[in-house]
């Protein structure tokens, strides 16, 4: 495929002048400017399907016994063929290690993170609108914080801040509920 810059809105090819810093009007009505880098003109290297084993003494791929091993997985040490090798900027990984790295929050492999602190805060704030279940919501919020205390927070967030805030709010709601209960029944 020839090098091209596409309109982000409709995927049409934009005129080459856009790479020179000029604004280009796409047929869909979007005006786009671009800052191009050398990778735009660099040919794509074709992927490998792996080579078949010719000699019986050759090392074979862990996942494809009929294919010759080309690299060793940097995560688990298994032999991999060209098809199974995933090149992560110099690091060679198999698909299983990629998945494991994501679930175990390995550096640079994680793709998603649940923000338990935000969930705990929302849980306790929702109780403002449903006052009759407020103590239960506050308790649920405290449980979430306790259960996921060691889970990492979002990138850039102050560590544990959201969880501490959720604890403070939960304790306030629980204290307020207790005071209300005592006032109503014994006051």
């Amino acid at each position: 495929m020839a090098a091209v810059i596409r309109c982000p809105n409709c995927a049409r090819a934009l005129p080459p002048a856009v790479a020179g810093g000029e604004a280009a009007d796409c047929a869909c009505g979007q005006r786009t400017r671009a800052v191009a880098f050398p990778a735009l003109l660099r040919p794509l290297t074709a992927g490998s399907f792996g080579q078949r084993v010719i000699d019986a003494g050759e090392s074979t791929c862990f996942y494809h016994p009929a294919k010759r091993a080309e690299v060793v997985c940097d995560g688990c040490g298994r032999f991999l063929c060209g098809l199974c090798d995933i090149d992560m900027v110099g690091e060679h990984l198999c698909a299983a290690c990629l998945e494991t790295g994501n679930t175990r929050r390995k550096e640079d492999l994680e793709t998603e993170r649940v923000l338990h602190g935000q969930i705990a805060i929302s849980t306790v704030l929702v109780s403002v609108f449903f006052w009759f279940i407020a103590p239960f919501m506050a308790a649920a919020s405290l449980f979430i914080v306790a259960r996921y205390w060691n889970a990492p927070d979002g990138i850039g967030a102050t560590p544990k801040l959201a969880k501490i805030l959720a604890v403070i709010l939960s304790l306030l709601v629980l204290g307020g509920s207790a005071a209300l209960f005592i006032t109503l029944y014994y006051g």
């Binding site: 495929m1 020839a2 090098a3 091209v4 810059i5 596409r6 309109c7 982000p8 809105n9 409709c10 995927a11 049409r12 090819a13 934009l14 005129p15 080459p16 002048a17 790479a19 020179g20 810093g21 047929a27 869909c28 009505g29 979007q30 005006r31 786009t32 400017r33 671009a34 800052v35 191009a36 880098f37 050398p38 990778a39 735009l40 003109l41 040919p43 794509l44 290297t45 074709a46 992927g47 900027v89 929050r105 390995k106 550096e107 640079d108 492999l109 994680e110 793709t111 998603e112 993170r113 649940v114 923000l115 935000q118 969930i119 929302s122 990492p152 979002g154 990138i155 850039g156 560590p159």
Partner: protein
């Protein structure tokens, strides 16, 4: 991911105005980390510097649309503050109006709005944290230094010379590069352009425009039939706008049109919220009518926009919002641009040249069964 904040620098983050989808951009040693969050989860996408082909900056109508919308509540609330007798309410309306005015000023001062994408050989990633031109320029300047350290520098003239012109591009189904162009291995065929059918947008905007016209008509003529028509058109316009958004979620809809449709949905929801709040207030004030389902409708009919200052402002705000949004959106739909071609009527299938090729015969199984000539 372990927290290695030492070798990760934040280049940009979304403003606090982005409530529903927040994001930030972090520069690492060898990649750009795109973080997007919808409140309870964060998603991470990494773009390695040596894969980054280009950063695209597209104009966005966000600033223009908010510049048109924010003065409406600001003026309405400030006018209410000047006409109200009670000092407490006057202060409250005044503060609310000043708040919208402040938002308008901030929106104007922050400069032109844009949308940014990073292009790699396989995809275009939306950089949601960037929404203003100045912010995008600062980000690109910082990113370019890191990318050039990894890839080297590309002179603009060289980039222009190396790119294929749209005319040289192969058709979407072709697997081979265009002859004469600087070619790449034919690993992926180019995606077809995303064209979108804008019918639903047009219907939604026409409904809103008509609703705005009828709301404005209420100043001179009020009738139960008119009110019913207003309710129908506003609700219908909102529903159509939601359908248009759902149908256009794959892209291809111009940014302005997409943004106006979202504004329309927001407008209808706000209007419904105001009417519902009035309904609740009315029911609390007159609990004896709670069992009468038509009481609220009769009250609405009995309204005259000129009865009270608040009603006047509500009608003015509603009709101006609907007329502006609907009219501008309708005009956008009418502007010339490529659209989905109308469906082609089925062509007659002749069995004379039927070679049994499944890709050439529209209904091969049937044409194989039926040996006689077929009517169109």
């Amino acid at each position: 991911m372990s927290e290695t904040r030492k070798n990760r620098t934040r280049l940009a983050r979304s403003s606090i105005a982005r409530v529903f989808e927040r994001g930030s951009l972090w520069a690492s040693d060898d990649h750009l980390l795109v973080v997007s969050s919808r409140g309870y989860t964060e998603r991470y996408r990494r773009i390695y510097y040596h894969d980054l082909q280009a950063v695209l900056v597209t104009d966005s109508p966000r600033r223009l649309v908010f510049s048109l919308i924010l003065p409406l509540p600001a003026v309405a609330l400030l006018a209410l503050a000047f006409t109200w007798d009670n000092t407490v309410w006057r202060t409250a309306w005044g503060l609310a109006g000043a708040f919208f005015g402040l938002l308008f000023l901030i929106n104007w001062i922050k400069g032109p709005s844009v949308k940014c994408h990073a292009q790699t050989p396989v995809q275009q990633v939306l950089l949601g944290a960037l929404s203003r031109k100045r912010q995008a320029e600062r980000f690109i300047a910082e990113l370019a230094a890191r990318v050039e350290a990894a890839q080297g520098r590309l002179e603009p003239a060289e980039a222009v010379a190396g790119l294929a012109t749209p005319a040289e591009m192969p058709p979407p189904a072709a697997d081979s590069p265009a002859p004469g162009a600087r070619s790449r291995p034919a690993a992926v065929s180019p995606p077809p352009p995303r064209l979108h059918d804008e019918r639903w947008h047009r219907y939604a905007f026409i409904s809103l425009f008509a609703a705005g016209f009828l709301l404005a008509l209420s100043f001179v003529w009020n009738h139960p039939f008119l009110l019913s028509l207003q309710i129908l058109l506003v609700a219908g316009g909102g529903t159509l706008a939601i359908m248009a958004l759902a149908r256009g979620r794959d892209g291809g809809v111009p940014e302005t049109l997409s943004f106006l449709t979202k504004i329309s949905v927001g407008y209808v929801i706000t209007l419904c919220g105001v009417v519902f709040a009035y309904y609740i207030a009315l029911m609390v004030a007159n609990p004896e009518y709670a069992d009468d389902p038509l009481y609220f409708y009769r009250r609405l009919v009995s309204w005259r926009p000129g009865d009270e200052a608040m009603f006047t402002l509500l009608y003015l705000f509603s009709s101006a919002g609907a007329l502006l949004t609907g009219g501008f959106g309708w005009w956008q739909c009418a502007s010339p641009r490529p659209r989905v071609p109308p469906p082609v009527p089925p062509t007659p299938v002749s069995t004379a040249g039927n070679t049994g090729d499944l890709h050439t015969a529209p209904d091969a199984s049937e044409s194989n069964r039926d040996s006689g000539p077929r009517a169109p």
